[in-house]
């Protein structure tokens, strides 16, 4: 299988190992993040003229879904500003490892954390499934109301900070962040990975500085021992192990797309993440881009009896109906044996499908709303500024004729990609991939009907 270590290229290695580049990006993004909170709160309440809405939910989201995740996996987590204040407080140091009065070898006690480990029953992504669903249910308001976006961003920053004071490492990122959950899921499809080179070196390595930290750097903030990495899901690409490994046994590699998906999922929380993401994309496409205005109104009418009906339908479709149909189709093939392991394993095929559904959905609203970027860049608060002379741009959908072919390609591509994964899983189980392909085909046809 093709693999190429890009971290061996001197210029790339220098950029990845040097903390300043990452810190500058993170600091700029933290400033932008704080500015978004501020803009959302004191800027214009008109969403499409407020920086927080336009640059978060149009620019950042599109960048994340169309480029960052499919091509670079968890690259966003690598520069995400949310953990920066918590890391600072936790380590007492912003740039590198905790500064010690004496060499680490003489002062091991000072590295002992006062923080607790994340509770064992919660060391999974069920909470992330929950936080994403929570945001998804309120997204009609969050995505259009600057003050609500501001509150959500501020809450995430404060929650991450509070969690970092109580629990070790980046527990918020790993177990709570609603975005981190799906980035982890879809990062498995990306053609990039951080892995060790030689397991023997790790096994014999004294002190495991990649996990425990050393003078050269801090221990993995994602609570991952790199030697155990088999997929991208939980490696936040903070690159710290690249800096701490005394044997230079860590590398960042290019690889074929969806390499991680060759190992079928075995965890129910990850399986449900696939359904949460797939179902959300389908419901969003129907409610926000479909022709049923009354559904959209329901989604916006928060806390009314009708909205509770919408919320219930939203959750039941995602958490019950879609998995039940999937399971029902799987049960048609009796050779699959243990239905739970088949359920989790075959749900791996939903990962590329869901990713391409989100890409198709995002293409639609990004190109429809891209002209707001110029308006908001010049007048981020909606106060009538014109910093770059683009404030008077008139909203105009862009490249609309290109959307149907692009979306069709994304959806059909996703179907074929997921069929390929289903066939690989089926070979492992010596069973038929047809039920899963059928499920994916039905879902794709629904998306084609809704979007194209």
């Amino acid at each position: 299988m093709f693999q190429r270590s890009i971290s061996d290229l001197p210029i790339i290695k220098r950029s990845l190992v040097n903390r300043w580049l990452q810190l500058i990006i993170q600091a700029l993004l933290l400033a932008a993040f704080l500015f978004m909170i501020l803009a959302g709160w004191i800027g214009t309440p008109v969403g499409n003229h407020n920086f927080s809405i336009v640059f978060l939910w149009i620019a950042w989201w599109a960048l994340l879904i169309l480029i960052a995740v499919p091509l670079f996996g968890r690259s966003w987590c690598s520069v995400c500003p949310i953990p920066l204040p918590g890391d600072w407080l936790q380590r007492g140091n912003i740039l590198g490892p905790q500064i010690l009065d004496a060499p680490l070898s003489q002062n091991k006690a000072s590295l002992k954390s006062v923080h607790a480990r994340w509770p064992k029953p919660l060391r999974n992504i069920w909470l992330q499934n929950g936080t994403f669903l929570l945001l998804a249910l309120f997204s009609p308001i969050i995505l259009t109301t600057p003050r609500v976006t501001s509150l959500v961003l501020a809450s995430m920053l404060l929650l991450a900070l509070a969690i970092s004071l109580i629990y070790t490492r980046r527990s918020f990122c790993r177990y709570l962040c609603p975005v981190g959950g799906f980035i982890g899921l879809y990062s498995q499809a990306a053609p990039i990975e951080l892995r060790i080179r030689n397991k023997e070196i790790c096994v014999t390595c004294a002190g495991k500085p990649c996990y425990n930290g050393s003078e050269a750097g801090y221990g993995c903030p994602w609570d991952v021992f790199p030697a155990g990495l088999t997929k991208n899901s939980y490696c936040g690409l903070c690159l710290e192990c690249l800096r701490t490994c005394p044997a230079e046994n860590i590398s960042v590699k290019l690889r074929p797309f969806s390499t991680d998906l060759n190992q079928p999922s075995t965890r129910l929380d990850e399986t449900y993440k696939s359904f949460v993401m797939l179902g959300s994309a389908m419901i969003y496409a129907a409610v926000f881009l479909g022709p049923w205005g009354q559904w959209k109104n329901l989604a916006y009418s928060l806390f009314t009896p009708a909205w509770f009906g919408y919320a219930l339908a939203f959750l039941v479709i995602i958490l019950v109906i879609l998995p039940a149909i999937f399971l029902g189709l799987l049960s048609l093939d009796r050779k699959k044996g243990n239905s739970r392991s088949a359920f989790t394993a075959f749900s791996t095929a939903l990962i590329p499908l869901g990713l391409m559904f989100w890409i198709a959905f995002t293409i639609s609203f990004f190109f429809s709303n891209a002209s707001y970027l110029g308006i908001s860049l010049s007048d981020p608060m909606g106060w009538g500024w014109d910093i770059f002379g683009t404030a008077s741009w008139v909203w105009q959908p862009v490249a609309q004729s290109m959307l149907p072919p692009l979306q069709t390609m994304a959806l059909i591509g996703g179907l074929l990609w997921s069929a390929g994964i289903a066939m690989k899983v089926a070979r492992r189980f010596a069973s038929s991939p047809i039920p899963v392909i059928l499920f994916n085909l039905l879902a794709t046809l629904i998306m084609l009907w809704l979007l194209v």
């Binding site: 704080l34 309440p45 920066l84």
Partner: protein, 344 residues
Amino acid sequence: MKSELHPHPDQSKSRSLTRQETAARVVVFVMSLAAIAIPVSLHYSNKQLEIHARIAETSGWDPDVIRLEVGQPLHMRFTSDDVVHGFAVGQKFLDPVDILPGIWTDLTLTFDKPGVYTFYCTRWCGINHWRMRGTLEVGEPVAAAPSAAEPLYLSLGIDLDKPHLSPVVPDTIPSAWKGAGLLASLPDAAKYQSVDYYLTNSPFQVYENLGNRHLSAEQRWAIVAAIWKANTSPGALVEGRQLFAQNCSACHGTGGGGDGVFADDLGNLTDYEDTSQHSIKMPAHLSDPKSILGASPALLQGKILRGGMGTGMPMWGVIFTEEQVWNLVTYIYSFQFEYDSLLS
């Protein structure tokens, strides 16, 4: 092997790390501070008069009271925080200015006379659109002087809220053209042709007054139509129609049938009808002959000036000039009479 790769940091390296750490903290702190401090300071240093338009349920105009000096230009910046609104000042001939969401619109006004002016929304922004009003207080506040011309309904002592149904209505729409000759042939035509007579009598009262002559019902209604036509003009009807379309049709309907776009919304609010005295009253059917033929011009003027107390009908007295109100009154009567080519 480990010690070769990573020797313990010596003192100078430690100092260098500390310097780098300090620099890193400064970078993060300065960038974060700049992201917050610059916009906040710009926001609070802005001294321009900015007026935010919001639907009445949220806040209406903000601010809704503006003070200015006589003869001193007032520069205002408008924006809407929700939907499209419009800005106009009552009784001041000013083209309404559209106020678009997220867009700033500049306007400079100068007032030559002191007084309290009402500004209002000119776009149908919601069911409570008519509540979107504010005041421009020009010059020093003075004790309210009695109005130069008391509205006719007050001097006549007309009870605006008393039912005014016409007991009879014409079988067909009365033709002013047919009635003009009959009116001229009346021995006491001058009485019927006087403006005061027109203003103070309802069409039904005129019809009744004509009852002791040898005239058919159709002829009497035709004379009424001729009198009402004589008291209007093409210009008045055109302005009345325009005012009606801009300000009244959303509730009363373009044809006066009480079926405007907001009538359905008002209907949906009738659930509250029995729970308080503030019952929702559906818009009047201005095309209904029973209702309008029983109302004198003075009564209709009063209703427009004062508004429907306790209903959704706003007070227009501070918005329209007296002439505009009379033009609106003549337009409302035009639903009942055939004026031939007056409104083409």
